[in-house]
């Protein structure tokens, strides 16, 4: 079924299977992560002169949305430094497979499972977004908290509980990984069914049993299962975009919530960061003041009531129009697949407008990461003010149109009839027009 298995080519197989290449990249990202924290705490308080702000919010955040996720799904998670220290302790070594070593290894409480907390975390980032995005020390503190939280939770809970249930980045990458063209899957299910040991499940830091993988949302592409399987029965496939989205896959209500939070956040961030409304920006910045509470209220009304309300209405109508009726809860979960291409492309369009205009800040902070007036590589130059050009606007229009095409296709595929798909198509179109209006209107 139109898959290209990377483990069948010798050099890609080596790169994936050997622990060293991945470790070396992760060592670099870990060093970069710690350097970023230091730069944010010690360096210039002016965001645009500080490595922390520019690297986290311009370079990395852009790379995540324009490169890592659309071409590699959770590929960022496979080189992410955040869980490394905790995992070393858990495994009792740096290049070790998973094993029972230190840590209490408790199971994550049932009532905290699912994507709810990740969605909540993402909403917090949105509520405090303007200050995080402009203040290097706040960015550093957020990164530090994430690093420490991941470490402490790794000591108390089993496997990557932080990644699975808390990390807001993980919520983002996991949701959109379903649309991405990479997957880990078993090659031959029959071999698995005769293998009682399930070495892959034992080794998987994410608690995934590869044989049961239907969606790539929970697989962190860490490649541990490949390394322990005695029968070489795991494949890393390149696949068509959107492979996990279809009538058969199972989805739950928390995914719908996460998808809606992401869509609302893309709309809100476009309004705050790219709109002409100074009052809104200042209210979002002035944390704790009356106007900030007003802003927070507005944000929560949009993210928790308005967008979910319209979505629920659309799903309810779709359900009415269908031949077999589902209960509303199930339908809300099922239709949430439409939110995946919709949100992903909305974020990509936002990023093109937001970050490409500011890319000229990146090279200067490489030479002067702390904003102390260094010029290590001679790349310091006065960044131009940053423009959005006609090309960038055309690109945004095309990306949004592709997103609408894609989400309409998903809506039709998962519905019984075209008529039943219409409400979700209308919902997608409304979102897209909203994004268009905010970005280029």
């Amino acid at each position: 079924m139109n898959r290209l298995d990377l483990t069948r080519t010798r050099w890609t197989n080596f790169l994936i299977r050997n622990r060293w290449p991945q470790f070396l990249i992760r060592a670099i990202t870990l060093a970069g992560f710690i350097f970023t924290i230091l730069a944010g705490l010690l360096g210039s308080v002016v965001g645009s002169h500080n490595f922390a702000i520019i690297f986290v919010w311009i370079a990395w955040w852009t790379a995540l949305k324009l490169f890592f996720i659309p071409f590699g799904g959770r590929s960022w998670c496979s080189i992410c430094p955040i869980p490394m220290p905790g995992e070393w302790i858990q495994n009792g070594g740096i290049l070790q497979p998973r094993g029972k070593n230190f840590g209490l290894g408790k199971r994550w409480p049932k009532f905290l499972r699912g994507r709810w907390l990740q969605a909540g975390g993402f909403m917090l980032v949105g509520l405090f977004g303007v200050i995080t995005l402009t203040s290097p020390s706040v960015t550093s503190i957020v990164l530090l908290i994430i690093l420490l939280l991941a470490f402490v939770l790794a000591l108390v809970f089993e496997r990557r509980s932080f990644c699975n249930y808390l990390c807001p980045i993980g919520g983002f990458t996991g949701l959109y990984a379903q649309a991405a063209p990479v997957e880990v899957r078993v090659k031959n299910p029959e071999i698995c069914s005769t293998h009682a040991q399930k070495s892959c499940y034992e080794a998987c830091p994410w608690g995934v049993y590869p044989l049961a993988l239907k969606s790539s949302a929970n697989c962190g592409l860490c490649m541990e299962c490949l390394r322990v399987c005695p029968s070489d029965n795991l494949a890393v496939n390149l696949r068509p975009w959107g492979s996990d989205l279809g009538p058969e896959t199972k989805h739950s209500l928390d995914e719908a919530f996460l998808g809606l939070v992401m869509v609302s956040s893309a709309l809100m961030d476009s309004a705050i960061f790219l709109g002409p409304w100074g009052q809104l920006k200042m209210a979002a910045y002035a944390i704790g003041t009356g106007s900030w509470f007003l802003f927070a209220g507005l944000f929560l009304v949009i993210a928790l009531m308005l967008v979910p309300g319209i979505y629920t209405l659309a799903v309810w109508i779709a359900n009415k129009l269908g031949e077999q009726k589902m209960n509303l809860r199930k339908a809300l979960a099922h239709q949430s697949q439409v939110l995946v291409p919709l949100g992903l492309t909305a974020w990509i369009a936002f990023t093109i407008s937001f970050a490409l205009a500011k890319f000229s800040y990146v090279l200067p902070v490489v030479s002067d990461p702390f904003g102390w007036g260094w010029n290590l590589l001679g790349t310091v130059a006065k960044p131009w003010v940053g423009q959005s050009t006609l090309t960038s606007m055309l690109l945004q229009v095309i990306v949004l149109a592709l997103g609408l095409f894609w989400s309409s296709r998903v809506a039709i595929k998962i519905s019984g009839s075209l008529k039943q798909a219409l409400p979700m198509i209308v919902f997608s179109a409304m979102t897209m027009v909203g994004m268009l209006w905010l970005l280029i209107g």
Partner: protein, 172 residues
């Protein structure tokens, strides 16, 4: 008999593939037309305009300006608190004002579309997001975007319709 069936099946597949390709080519042509077809517009006779813009951290007032294509626009720009600047995306236009010191500059609005203008002097935390919008003539790219969206929905419907016909054709 069997062979005949097989060959018609193959032909059907072949045909549907062909129509699919044709459809794709047609849709991309429509998309290109929507994006790039020049639309002749009657632009009103260019006039001279004087626009006063106040800059306060971190807001331009007014932050939304509309002019017609070809207008000679003179901006009188004054900051009311700290040093602010103004530069317009896509135009070679830049002014800097010390607090309370108005400056003026003129440009001809020769490019149509929506252009953000931004503060060009680092003026504080929210400086990178101090933004206003200038519209020159009707915002064609927005209209093109909406049309492209409609085409996208139509394309999605047709791209799946064909395969459904094929599927039912197979089972019956």
């Amino acid at each position: 008999m069997m062979e005949e069936l097989l060959s018609t099946q193959e032909e059907l597949n072949h045909q549907s593939l062909q129509t699919k390709w044709r459809l794709m080519v047609l849709i991309s042509q429509c998309a290109l037309l929507i994006l790039f077809l020049p639309i002749p517009l009657v632009t009103p006779k260019p006039i001279d305009r004087l626009i006063h813009i106040d800059a306060t951290s971190f807001q331009f007032t007014p932050a939304e300006i509309k002019v017609n294509q070809g207008d000679r626009v003179t901006i009188e720009f004054v900051s009311t608190d700290v040093v602010h600047g103004i530069s317009i995306d896509g135009y070679d236009f830049q002014l800097t004002s010390d607090p309370g010191q108005p400056v003026t500059g003129t440009f001809v609005a020769s490019w149509p579309g929506m252009f953000r203008f931004r503060c060009s002097v680092a003026c504080g935390n929210l400086h990178p997001f101090m933004i206003g919008k200038l519209w020159v003539g009707p915002n064609l790219i927005l209209i093109r975007g909406v049309l492209l969206g409609i085409l996208a929905v139509v394309a999605a419907i047709f791209s799946l319709k064909k395969s459904k016909v094929l599927k039912t054709g197979k089972t019956s």
